[in-house]
Symmetry: C2
Subunit: 122 residues, 2 copies
């Protein structure tokens, strides 16, 4: 990372929904951005997952509750908690999670991206 | 963390400059916010440190270069790199770093805050 990166611009430049791109490594974690719309798949991780909404509104359904994040708001889905993110309109988000975390967790689906696909080219 | 948190509002509510508050834990990392103005001390960490500017402009001087972050921009200061953050006007920032990271690194100064002082009360 040679220069500061504007996260919203980076997320806006992604072509495909639910296809996170790695922006930076922080020790053994990755900072990622994603452009999302519609429903993701129910899944869980063995690590915590940090969400920040850069633009739009993100709903995170969990089995015990549902939270709605507006622009500038953050939330951590604890490890082991099944969750399904969704957004009726397009939404830009930042994620912070272990480098080992797969974005669909243990649930492989048509939406699952390999980590190689998540590495940003710039 | 029971509910989504607005980072800018949280940072704005801090009384003292250069006094980061923990917003959330993400595995073995902390998400913190801080309100800063003026010059911090030169220091380094044994871990990477992620900066995001929520409002205002942050300058990070390093020995080899200086970067300037505007609102919405992020930068990672690599482990071991001596750096001095500063801001001529008040600036709100988010930090992401290992829970073990002391904000002044190995450099104890009048600005050094104990981690207990960084834990947010809400």
């Amino acid at each position: 990372m040679r220069n500061p990166i504007n996260l919203k611009h980076k997320a806006q430049s992604i072509d495909e929904h639910w296809s996170p791109k790695v922006v930076a490594a922080v020790d053994d974690n990755f900072v990622k951005v994603a452009k999302v719309k519609g429903e993701f798949t129910w899944h869980e991780h063995e690590e915590d997952e940090f969400f920040m909404v850069l633009d739009g509104t993100l709903k995170i359904e969990m089995e015990a509750e549902t939270v709605t994040l507006k622009q500038g708001e953050v939330y951590v889905v604890p490890k082991g908690v099944r969750h399904k993110p969704s957004s009726s309109d397009e939404c830009l988000i930042m994620l912070f999670e272990k480098q080992s975390t797969l974005h669909t967790g243990k649930t492989k689906s048509a939406l699952t991206k390999d980590i190689k696909d998540q590495l940003s080219s710039s």
